[in-house]
């Protein structure tokens, strides 16, 4: 990394002296170790080491980006010159500007007790094979297809800007994906369970990962074997932290991204229905849900998958209150879009590798806990469903029309969760249909891991999307795909 830091400093000086009004250089030195198994037999395993530099420039009001793994001065000079030339050739009528931010010199790192490279390859494989043995022993033919992925990523990063900011960081992310198929009377059910966090190898034990995977598969098998079709129409719905988390992410986090609102993702991930709201009112005055709804995106939570303390534009991270008591409160901003709104960045700029530009991303997005106990949520429900997990989901590109298909779902009758499992109920709701029908939020909390896709080329960043249990009243279940 020392050589990389020198090269990054060189790049910034070179860019400034060759016509860039702003330049930032980001060197990332990463190690990615991963394995995949199918039914306890290895599919793949490998360790890839990558080190390269990303350079972003502003010149004549245009933006240019280049990256290379060839960290020689000649190569760096050539790519910077080309990036500046292309930035100038964009001939923008309105120049791109960045918000003024405090110049910082800082270091941060993910707390790690056991580094991935300090654990033997054999132990990592034993962890994977043991999980499969446990699942196979427990379920046999009921869970005939089991795929498991383990990914151990770590990096060192150095970012330097022509304004004088310098941030060094060390990150470590562990994640698993379990994709299994359970056999049932009415066909099969499939489940992709993502678990992960910013941590070292200790994460597995500290988070009872083996138990979590076993419990999740018990639910998958139960759903495949026991869930029944129903003709439920209007019901009250209690959703788990997992389901609340994906809604917080898709229905609130994404439309809060200022680059979408102002059209930059127009041809890719799309725009945002927030544009209509913001044109008619001011942040803080726009009601978007009931007052029980507070949704936060917070990069500063240690251990969560989207943890960081400075973003990839050297801006200090802080929690972002996207919705506060039902009112649209804050957008997700990087420096370019903070400038467009004449405000400060709230440090939402992230890039997944040295080959990608930093763009506005979520980190750890969640419904804020409320005052209810878990039991109190159900007390006055006459007929309802309790949706603990989901399978299929999607949402339109303005982030308004969403769909969540339940996997582990129980019938609620007269205030009690029954043993009756409902097969694949569908919440096909607008964002208003969700946020406008929340009337209670529990005190408990769950923290699922996931990957968020956005940008072009696609950048799948690790995020965390969770929350407490949330109750929605009088929901009409949606139509099924047959």
């Amino acid at each position: 990394m020392e050589n990389g830091k020198d090269i990054a400093d060189f790049a910034v000086n070179y860019g400034v002296s060759h016509g860039a009004s702003y330049i930032e250089a980001r060197v990332v030195d990463s190690r990615d170790e991963s394995y995949a198994t199918r039914n306890g037999v290895i599919l793949s395993g490998g360790i890839t080491y990558l080190c390269g530099i990303a350079i972003r420039v502003l010149a004549n009001g245009g933006m240019g980006f280049c990256s290379t793994a060839n960290l020689t001065k000649n190569t760096i000079e050539a790519v910077i010159e080309e990036a500046i030339k292309l930035a100038k050739a964009s001939k923008r009528k309105t120049p791109i500007t960045f918000s003024d931010e405090k110049v910082v010199q800082a270091k941060w790192k993910t707390p790690v007790k056991i580094k991935f490279e300090d654990i033997s390859i054999e132990e990592k494989q034993k962890f994977m094979f043991d999980i499969d043995k446990i699942l196979n022993k427990e379920f046999r033919f009921k869970l005939p297809t089991r795929t498991f992925l383990l990914d151990l990523y770590s990096d060192e990063k150095y970012i330097v800007t022509s304004e004088g900011s310098k941030v060094e960081s060390e990150n470590s992310i562990i994640s698993t994906i379990s994709f299994n198929t359970a056999k049932g009377k009415a066909g099969g059910e499939q489940r992709m369970l993502n678990l992960g966090g910013t941590s070292g190898w200790e994460w597995i034990e500290e988070n009872n990962v083996v138990e979590k995977i076993l419990d999740d598969n018990k639910c998958l098998v139960k759903a495949a074997r026991n869930a029944i079709e129903t003709n439920l129409n209007e019901v009250d719905v209690v959703i788990s932290g997992e389901v609340a988390g994906i809604m917080a992410h898709e229905n609130v986090g994404h439309p809060s991204e200022a680059d979408r609102i102002l059209g930059r993702e127009g041809a890719q991930a799309g725009e945002s229905f927030y544009l209509d709201l913001i044109q008619k009112g001011n942040l803080g005055d726009i009601k978007i849900g009931r007052e029980e709804v507070t949704i936060i995106d917070d990069p500063t939570r240690p251990g969560n998958s989207g943890f960081y303390l400075y973003d990839d534009e050297c801006v200090k991270a802080r929690p972002r209150y996207l919705i506060k008591k039902g009112m649209l409160n804050e957008l997700l901003l990087n420096r370019e879009y903070a400038s467009r709104y004449n405000t400060k960045s709230n440090a939402a700029a992230r890039a997944i590798s040295y080959k990608r530009e930093p763009i506005i991303r979520m980190a750890n997005t969640y419904f804020a806990p409320g005052d209810f106990t878990f039991e109190e949520l159900f007390e006055d429900i006459k007929t309802g469903i309790y949706m603990k997990s989901f399978t299929e989901w999607n949402i339109d590109d303005r982030r308004f029309q969403s769909k969540y298909v339940g996997l582990e779902v129980y019938l609620i009758e007269n205030g009690e969760i029954t043993d009756t499992m409902i097969r694949r109920p569908i919440l096909e709701l607008t964002t208003f249909g969700i946020l406008g029908n929340v009337d209670a939020v529990s005190k408990d909390f769950n923290s699922p891991h996931g990957y968020c896709g956005k940008g072009e080329p696609m950048q799948g960043v690790p995020v965390w999307l969770g929350g407490p249990h949330v109750r929605l009243r009088n929901i009409n279940l949606g139509g099924k795909n047959k």
Partner: protein, 458 residues
Amino acid sequence: MSENEDFLKVAIEIAQKENIDEVIAQRIKGKTYQIRFSNSLIDNSKIWSNDILELFLAKGKRTTQIDIEAPNPTKIRNTIIKASKFLLKLPESFLYNGMESNLHTYKKLDQIFDPKIMSFSEKAPELVNTAIQTSLESGAKKVAGVLYFGYSKTELMTNYGNEGSYDGSYYRFTIRSFVDAESSGQGIVCSRNLSGVEKKFSQAGIKAGEIAKMAVGGTQGHPGKYDVIMSPTVAANVLGQVFDGLNPIKIMIGMSPLKNKHIGKQIASEDFTVVDNALLDNGLGSRPFDVEGTPTGKTPIFTNGILEGLLHNTSTSKMEQVENTGNSIFFDFGIGSKFLAPGPSNIVISGGNYTLEEIIAECKKPTIYLTSNWYTRFTNMMDGLFSTIPRDGMFLIENGEIKKPVRKLRLSDNLLRICSNISAIGKDVQQIYWWEVVTPTFSPTIKVNDCTITAATQ
């Protein structure tokens, strides 16, 4: 001997000294450019200087795959020595049944490289701005999109003596035009060569603008059963989910609606004929050899609705005791390490006899015409239960005419049912490759009967 060949030989020699049985060394070197634009202005221009050495190492049935960026002899040596030690600690993979060991020569694919690409960065920003202007003049109020272009040299060497190389160039251009926030249209054009590129960009911009104008005033559509006309863009995405499942490994792990029992059976409508063709002059996925060094070719997938077979590499062809189709790629699950598995090159759906206008005119039942879509996800991949979200212009057709633009609907259906309910195929075969279609797919307009359309309940 070129520098590339040196590196490939160096890699194989080092691996063999480390007692590795089988080695693939593939180097891809070149440049990729991207110009992103939105609000009718260029947002960012990017350049990637690519130089990657992809290595596959096997000892018996133990395998690993590693990438080396900006390779040099020291990096290659150190990486292979580390990987060799790592490899010995891996268990054997029952899926690995060897790689291509016969010696081959390869076809020359001269048409997949256009030397004009080397200087295209000089005029690309201007062409983008011209296309934006054209779309605005055709009625759009704002325009977003992306242009990618680039070139690369791919060189391959294996321990069995197979050697080959090819040069490739490409561009792909997506333009999305908006009249207002909910009235939009998209145009796509992609090619290996730059002939007529300026006109093609403008035509894509005009098409996007025209769809956007037609979408103005759209209203909430009604859920129900409809016949659906899928534009080439939509057909490439939706049916692409089936083609992705041509990989026997995906079938094995439950990520495909296809099953071995479907082979030889009619599971799609009689008009549906599809091949995987790696030798097309203009195909963005064209290549003379796969990563094992097996010569590529043209593989029938569906003939008149009958599933002819799957795509294979050496390992899966031995496993299934069928012919190797030369489709070996370095495959991954989106994250994590790669391994040898089959993957498509260019998917080609045969065109039919109809123009779009004729397909529309023959619609007797209420029909929804989808011009674009995104976010296709599954309730169950093995069963093919999915939904996808239309975006850009979507239109209700009644009595053989486009009646009105509609909005806020979702296609919620089953892939195999869609295959078997294809009722008309257009002549308008177009290469599609964009954000939502990552396998180059030559696709026509396709009409499917009796699809389930859903909408938000509140």
